[in-house]
Amino acid sequence: MKKSLITILVIVVVALIVIAQSTYIVRESEQVVITQFGKPVGESVKDAGIHFKVPFIQTANFFDKRYLEWDGDPNQIPTRDKKFIFVDTYARWQITDPLQFYKRLTNERGAQSRLDDILDGETRDFIAKNYLEETVRTSNRTPISSGAISEIVEDSLVQINVGRDSIQEYIQKSANLQSQDLGIEILDFRFKRINYVEEVRTQVYERMKSERFRIADKFRSEGQGEASRINGEKERELKSIQSEAFKVAEQIKGKADAEAAAIYANAYNKNNASRELYSFLKSMETFQKTFNSETTVILSTDSDLYKYLKSMD
């Protein structure tokens, strides 16, 4: 009884081991290369699910089927116009031929290292071959003017011939050519970050600063100029308003004087009698206006007044 139980147990265990050895599960994100004593046999397995192999002799080597990442080291590279920049790149690649991949690179570590060599080299070449603008810019679009500031610092972009997109594409293409027998394909390659190296950055900051100060000075002087203009306008207008008013007022007064003179002359200058009466009335008026208690009058006996006084007797 006990013996038979042990036998069954042994059989079950052996059977389990054999089953485990002769099957393997390929997950959705994986692909498998079967090797026999280290040598690949048959086609690679790309379908997910359970699969069979010869137990003990054959080994299943799993590889990722998905887009895999590659992240470049930030490299310091001079551009064609001798500007030193840091270029940080990334790529996405895929194991397209696991069999070849296994033969050439064995595992992902090997692939990453090969990709480092290829992509870093290509990046270096293409960056060095092009002006900085070409790696920064993509198209020759016309920038939107940003108002007042752009009148001073022009919102213009240099014409480019290649452009970022194309350089990325060239690098990708060229790298794919070099890696075509590795069983991998670089699906996308892009510049992640491009930046000036420290010393250049300081220079750029200085340039940006001086540019801004130039704008600030322009604004300030524009303000002063405009203020002076308004001030001048004010003075001019003030003088013109005042003198215009004076002119008009004097004209009006003059006209009135003339009119009055005409009226007087018309009345007083009719004939001798009227002239006589006028001068008489005027002298009487003068008496009234000029004589007061502080006036001392010396009347001679032959004066007109006295004559009247005398005649009163």
Binding site: L157, Y196, M208, I215, I230, T290, I298
Partner: protein, 329 residues
């Protein structure tokens, strides 16, 4: 420390008990784990992706679901949850007043503009997983991949614009363009995500040049102030001068009217008098003369009367005692 004595006998006894019931225990454990791994719940914001022996089998909606134990496994993917990635800063604590830190994220936000200046751009990408199958099985590290796409995309877009554009008018446009670009590349990669929104946060000049940029703003303000001051001085003076001019003219008009009216009045009076005067000139003249004298003479101060040869009185007259106003008739 509490004393603890290990009771070997008791332990042995219970171990034997376990051995005796080993089959039962195994069966119970197996059944229990089968039940537990059969039923599972998919949350409201998730879907469950079921794989059978590694291969994709089906996608389950939220609710209570079951699967074949040991053969099938489930991965839950939060497809309804809006997720976000931050670039150039990190939210350190979320709350009514969230706090942000820039540490470790400086390199993400500093970028070259098309005119080879530098700008510091911070942004947020909000996205949702819209294809759980692609998200799980097409790209390794999809989140990291999205970050890479987003960083390179932002630099591509900013690289095509001037620093002025990036800092001022271009903001909304950049966000819109980046959203489209990220989505395009994600579709190429079959990343299984949908970009909901790209939000630009702080877009500033880099720290070392910020002072200079502020100086521009200040100068712009200064310019406005100078102009406004000049305009205000203008407005203070000119309308007043206009009013004063109007006043001067009005006064002159008044003077003119008065002058003419007065002359007309005087002339009318003169004419009336003249009409009468002409009838009897001598009498009228005498009458007026005497009336005037009646009025004038009483008001006079000293009156000295001399005969026609009395001229020699004059030298003796002390004129200084009086006002000195003398009229020799």
């Amino acid at each position: 420390m509490a004393e603890f004595e290990f009771d070997w006998d008791k332990a042995k006894e219970s171990f034997q008990k376990i051995v005796k019931n080993i089959r039962l225990i195994i069966v119970v454990v197996v059944v229990l784990s089968a039940v537990i791994s059969t039923f599972f719940q998919v949350g409201a914001e998730e879907v469950g992706v079921v794989t059978r022996l590694g291969a994709y089998n089906r996608t389950l909606e939220s609710g209570l679901n079951f699967k074949i134990p040991f053969v099938e496994s489930v991965i839950k993917v939060p497809v309804e949850r809006q997720q976000k990635q931050e670039f150039g800063f990190r939210t350190t604590s979320v709350g009514v007043q969230s706090t942000f830190s820039k540490r470790g994220a400086e390199g993400e936000s500093l970028m070259l503009t098309g005119d080879l200046n530098l700008a510091d751009v911070e942004w947020v990408v909000q996205y949702r997983i819209d294809n759980p199958y692609n998200f799980l099985f097409k790209v390794r590290n999809p989140e990291e991949t999205l970050r890479d796409i987003s960083e390179s995309g932002m630099r591509q877009i900013v690289g095509d614009r001037t620093v002025n554009e990036v800092l001022t008018v271009g903001r909304a446009e950049i966000a819109g363009k980046l959203k489209v670009l990220i989505q395009e590349i994600s579709n190429d990669y079959e990343l299984g995500i949908r970009v909901e929104q790209v939000v630009l946060q702080d877009v500033t000049p880099p720290e070392p040049v910020r002072g200079a940029f502020n100086a521009v703003n200040e100068a712009q303000q200064e310019k406005e102030t100078l102009i406004n001051q000049a305009k205000s001085a203008y407005n203070k003076v000119i309308p007043r001068a206009r009013g004063e001019a109007e006043e001067t003219i009005q006064k002159a008009e008044g003077f003119a009217t008065e002058r003419v009216n007065n002359s007309q009045g005087e002339v009318a009076r003169f004419n009336e008098l003249y009409t009468e005067y002409i009838k009897a000139p001598g009498v009228t003249k005498t009458r007026i003369y005497l009336e005037t004298m009646q009025e004038v003479v009483p008001k006079l101060g000293d009156k000295i009367i001399t005969d026609e040869k009395g001229g020699n009185v004059l030298p003796l007259l002390n004129m200084s005692t009086k006002s000195g106003k003398a009229i020799n008739q």
